[in-house]
């Protein structure tokens, strides 16, 4: 391997720059100049993006063409030292998936920053917005580069916190406040599982680590991914005869870690926060809730993939929940009227896709792993574009409801063209980006023998095309259905330029040979070109979905009403998101609050506080009484001193007697 270039050894610069910019913008520039704040924040992230591209270039040229790319930690330092062989490092892990995500995150983040300078123009809190965008970018980059579970967890929480700040950006709006709380509480609840998973696996990994010969460790620490994913370590973990509720340690910790990933990636039944999170500014949704944060869960599972694969059962969980979520969200997506919510459910559905792609992968059939990362890559671009396009439309129409729009294609031709590109991409039409990655996932499901999952994937592909074109037709075709929709203005170039860039990526990203670069380490290379047995049915289904959307929504709306009447209850249930929010609300408010929280609150107020007050009273009284000993008479003090000596003498003699015998 050639010597590492500057940027490879200094990859920490990429997250450090947004962090510094966050501090600078948040503490110094925010009160001074809004404009400067936006500019600095954007430039900082832009610099990181430039460095990431450089880094990716250098990384790809580390090994001769055709050889698997390495995984290295060129830079790290010890952060926490617990015991002789248990320390936590902070560092930068560079491997194909982290480099890929580095590029995705910084690129989309830069484009969103640029777009936001136009979209957020004149908003109060403009500088605060950019400061938090910087903070988010830093946290996400720290997460991506994490070489161990602890750094990942720390950045994971930072990502959650910055997401909370951004969803609740319009904090005067009660709905935004409750949405941000909901997102935070649900993901935090899931993170509890993640933390437990880290503790469980850390406990056993530490013991294995301690029992291994030092020269076998290569300086790895127990919680390093490099250590946890070693085949010999995994074999020992799998061989442990420790069970909890009949589940082995490895599976238990994998499922617990997955719980954290499921929360961030909004897998069923923890999906409820993502649609509500659309209360945040639209560029935020593009960055966080489409391209970056929500894929952190997928990334986590991919990062720990050998753990899941060794467990097997954990992987089945990932696959089942992923497949179910993709279908479930697609059904709901067909019924929503808020353009951002449709996009949110489509994100859920696509995340499900990525998850089940990981779930069908194995060391024998590693294609799903590459496919999942490939889809993560392409999805980031076209989904960000869809959100930014939606933002452009909302900016013009001042409403999120697709039924307040219509006929926008004449007034907003550029937005229309770009939105169409992204919609075709997500529908999986050749040769746009989505086609390739979706095809790869479906092929992975088929070839690894998961026929049912393959069927679900095909069905969802068709439904995706349908509901995406539903919003496309309703928004851009037909007649204007509101005052604003009649005279919209095309967005300014600062918003259109990043969208155009994403448009190019949505078209071209499918030709980037991600599956060639991203290979499961230690598994056979399994990659093929387009499999026609998959491509043809999926394309047919996509076209069918588009045609159906055209049929129902391209022309007269009465057809829809008839259909809705026929579907009846099912439609209403789907439109109400299958009442999951109501169910959670019932469980929390009517059951937990009333029967658990209230009695505990009573106990706390009366018994616990009473005891505390009693303790306080006792301490105070004792203090007063003991204070009386301080008579001010030096004779008293002298006698205390002498009695003290006598007491110490007797205590020591007593100790001697009991110890001597």
């Amino acid at each position: 391997m050639p010597p590492l270039s500057f940027i490879l050894t200094h990859a920490w610069l990429i997250p450090a720059i947004p962090l510094l910019s966050f501090l600078l913008v948040g503490l110094v520039l925010r009160p001074v100049s809004q404009k400067l704040a936006g500019l600095v924040a954007t430039l900082a992230v832009g610099t990181s993006a430039g460095l990431s591209w450089l880094l990716a270039w250098d990384f790809l040229h580390l090994v001769p063409h055709g050889q698997p790319l390495p995984a290295l930690v060129p830079w790290s330092f010890q952060w926490l030292h617990f015991q002789e062989n248990f320390a936590i490092n902070l560092g930068t892990l560079l491997d194909p998936i982290s480099v890929m995500l580095l590029v995705v995150v910084t690129t989309v983040s830069t484009l969103v920053h640029i777009y936001s300078t136009g979209y957020m123009h004149g908003e109060p809190g403009y500088a605060r917005y950019f400061a938090f965008l910087n903070l988010f970018t830093f946290s996400m980059l720290g997460l991506v580069l994490a070489p161990n579970l602890v750094q990942m967890y720390v950045c994971w929480e930072l990502v959650g916190a910055s997401s909370f700040f951004l969803i609740g950006f319009y904090f005067e709006k009660p709905s935004a406040v409750s949405a941000s709380k909901k997102a935070f509480i649900v993901t935090r609840f899931a993170d509890l599982g993640f933390l437990l998973g880290i503790l469980v696996i850390g406990f056993y990994a530490y013991q294995i680590h301690g029992a291994m010969a030092p020269d076998l460790l290569h300086g790895q620490q127990p919680l390093d991914f490099a250590f946890l994913t070693r085949p010999d370590v995994l074999a020992r973990l799998a061989g442990l005869n420790v069970h909890f509720l009949g589940v082995g340690v490895l599976t238990l910790s994998a499922v617990l870690i997955y719980m954290g990933g499921a929360g961030k990636s909004a897998m069923f039944p923890l999906h409820i926060w993502l649609p509500d999170a659309m209360e945040g500014p639209t560029p935020v949704s593009a960055l966080i809730h489409a391209a970056t944060m929500v894929v952190a869960g997928v990334y986590l599972v991919a990062r720990c993939f050998p753990i899941f694969a060794t467990s097997g059962e954990a992987l089945t969980v990932v696959m089942s929940i992923g497949a179910f979520t993709s279908l479930f969200a697609a059904v709901i997506g067909c019924t929503q009227d808020d353009i951002k919510r449709v996009l949110a459910f489509s994100t859920l559905s696509q995340l499900g896709y990525m998850m089940f792609a990981l779930g069908v992968a194995s060391f024998a059939h590693p294609l799903g792993y590459s496919a999942s990362m490939f889809h993560l890559f392409t999805h980031a671009f076209f989904k960000a574009l869809l959100f930014l396009g939606a933002g452009s439309v909302i900016h013009a129409v001042h409403s999120n409801d697709i039924w307040h729009m219509g006929g926008l294609r004449k007034h907003m031709p550029i937005t229309h063209a770009l939105f169409l590109i992204a919609t075709l991409a997500i529908a999986g039409i050749y040769p746009l980006a989505g086609f390739f990655s979706k095809d790869e996932i479906l092929a992975a499901a088929l070839h690894s023998g998961h026929t049912v999952v393959f069927g679900v994937g095909l069905l969802v592909a068709g439904m995706t095309a349908f509901y995406m074109f539903r919003i496309y037709f309703v928004t851009f075709w037909g007649k204007p259905r509101s005052e604003h929709a009649a005279h919209p203005h095309e967005s300014p170039w600062v918003m259109l330029a990043p969208m155009a860039f994403l448009g190019v990526l949505s078209i071209g990203a499918g030709f980037v040979p991600i599956p060639e670069w991203v290979q499961l380490p230690g598994a056979p290379v399994e990659h093929e070109g387009i499999d026609l047995a998959v491509a043809i049915p999926s394309t047919i289904l996509a076209l069918a979905g588009i045609s159906l959307a055209w049929l129902l929504y391209g022309g007269a709306p009465e057809r829809v009403d008839n259909l809705v009447k026929k579907l009846g209850g099912f439609y209403v249930a789907a439109k109400n998101k299958f009442y999951f929010d109501e169910f959670y609300l019932f469980v929390t408010h009517s059951v937990i609050f009333r029967f658990v929280a209230q009695p505990i609150a009573w106990f706390d107020r009366n018994i616990v506080d009473g005891l505390v007050n009693l303790g306080g009273w006792f301490a105070r009284t004792a203090g007063l009484l003991l204070g009386k000993l301080q008579t001010g008479q030096v004779q008293t003090y002298g006698s205390w001193l002498v009695s003290g000596v006598i007491a110490v003498v007797f205590v020591l003699w007593g100790v001697l007697k009991s110890g001597g015998n």
Binding site: H81, L641, L652
Partner: protein
């Protein structure tokens, strides 16, 4: 070379004393910078001093832990002089001005010399002489103001101090009688765990307990802390305590080391009583100096936990906590000294509304108090954590519980002061305090140190390494 820091301090003391004769009142303002320069030079010399070596036929020795003690003494002295500068200058406000700055500084420096020597003594006579040099000047400093409170403080301090000193000397005598040697290092081999030995131990513990303010040898502290000028109180609470700890470590680790494990229960009892009484009585104090006296008593209780494990972990934890306690306590005293200097008050309630008048001072004081209370991530927390873990390792889990409850109690009274500063409104016509630059610098440095020691692991790691080396030098 080994004794260079001590020699520099003695020389500085004499230079100040002689210069004082020739200078006018106004020119005496030069003495403070001169004293600081002397201490700084000693710090530099200490930096170059090797951390082991023997002088004077083994009566004076350097070891890695003595190095840390000397560092603590010198830093404490440096900061104390910085904090005192406002009261020593010729323009200081009258009733609270400290007269005769030359003599004040000379006595302080001689006192410092005693402490520096104390850390290096290896036989009974040197130990006793150094200990007296580390004590008697304090009587003078405590009574510096010659008013009713100051006189009372000085006199009480001297009477109790003499008593403690006598008991200790008696203990030394017994020890000599049993072993027939003056050399501390030769004693463990000659001692047996019998009543006479333990009798001597109890007498010595009482003498050191006086310096360390262990209950029930602490009764002088509140009065002296209150009556002495606040800078002297600051010096007393930090340096004198450090000196006490260095003697106790000398005695327990060098002389009574074979029995240390057997008497650990007695240490645990002493620690429990000290921290509990200190904390409980601190709750009801209204005078900030008395309040700090009881706070210092309880801190001594925590320090004792380090003796429960005989190994280097305990020693390292104690030395590190001492360092942390020194900078944190000095940062708190910086604000107390300034407040007293400009308002003349020592009442807790007179700190009300400080956050509105002097936000930065209030913040620094709050950090200092939080540090003493042991709130993460301040250094006070880390230091306490290390001490508590020593107790836990020694199997004294109940004592860790007691210490934890005590920490909670202590938070209550530290927060009482914070409440005055942050929640109560300022008094009518209260004016912001105007700190001099030297005091501000002292406060800034100690506050920064009290935070950094908690997050930067280097210092603890080097203390730990020193303690390990020191334990080896004890000749296991």
């Amino acid at each position: 070379m080994l004794m260079l820091p001590e020699l520099i301090i003695v020389a500085t003391g004499f230079i100040l004393l002689v210069l004082d004769l020739f200078l006018t009142e106004k020119q005496r303002d030069l003495l403070v910078p001169l004293a600081l320069a002397g201490i700084a030079a000693a710090l530099g010399a200490l930096w170059l001093t090797p951390d082991h070596g023997v002088l004077l036929g083994g009566r004076f020795a350097m070891d890695p832990l003595a190095w840390w003690f000397k560092l603590t003494f010198l830093i404490a002295a440096f900061v104390t002089v910085m904090l005192t500068s406002g009261l020593l200058e010729s323009a200081a406000p009258e009733p609270r001005k400290l007269h005769s700055p030359g003599e004040f500084l000379t006595i302080l420096l001689f006192n410092l010399t005693g402490m520096l020597l104390l850390a290096s003594t290896r036989d009974l006579i040197t130990l006793y002489v150094a200990l007296e040099l580390a004590t008697i000047p304090l009587f003078l400093l405590a009574a510096w103001r010659r008013d009713a409170l100051g006189g009372e403080a000085g006199l009480k301090y001297m009477v109790i101090g003499a008593l403690a000193s006598a008991l200790m000397l008696y203990g030394f005598g017994v020890l000599y009688g049993v072993t027939g040697t003056m050399r501390l290092d030769a004693m463990p081999a000659l001692l047996h765990a019998d009543r006479t030995t333990l009798y001597a131990a109890a007498l010595i513990v009482a003498g050191v307990g006086f310096k360390l303010t262990l209950v029930p040898f602490h009764m002088w502290a509140p009065e002296v802390y209150q009556g002495a000028p606040p800078p002297v109180t600051a010096w007393l609470s930090v340096a004198s305590k450090a000196a006490g700890l260095s003697v106790l470590m000398l005695v327990l680790f060098r002389v009574f080391r074979p029995f240390l494990h057997d008497v650990s229960f007695a240490i645990a009892v002493l620690a429990t009583v000290t921290m509990t009484i200190g904390n409980l009585v601190a709750i009801v104090q209204r005078n900030i100096l008395r309040f700090m006296a009881f706070s210092a008593i309880s801190q001594a209780g925590y320090l004792l936990l380090g003796f429960l494990a005989g190994g280097s972990v305990g020693a390292a934890a104690m030395v590190f906590y001492l360092l942390v306690y020194a900078v944190t306590n000095l940062s708190v005293f910086a604000v107390i000294i300034l407040h007293n200097q400009q308002t003349g008050s020592t009442e807790l309630t007179d700190y009300r509304g400080l956050s509105q008048l002097n936000p930065l001072l209030a913040l620094a004081l709050m950090f200092g108090l939080f540090g003493l209370g042991g709130i993460p991530p301040l250094a006070g927390f880390v230091g306490k954590f290390l001490l508590f873990s020593v107790a836990a390792q020694a199997g004294y889990h109940w004592l860790v519980g007691v210490a934890a409850v005590n920490s909670t109690v202590s938070l209550y009274y530290y927060l009482r002061l914070v409440r005055q500063m942050y929640i109560e409104a300022p008094a009518e016509g209260a004016v912001p305090l105007k700190p001099g630059w030297m005091l501000s610098a002292g406060l800034a440095v100690t506050t920064a140190a009290s935070m950094l020691l908690g997050v930067v692991p280097t210092v603890y790691e080097s203390v730990r390494a020193s303690a390990a080396a020191w334990l080896q030098s004890l000749g296991q």
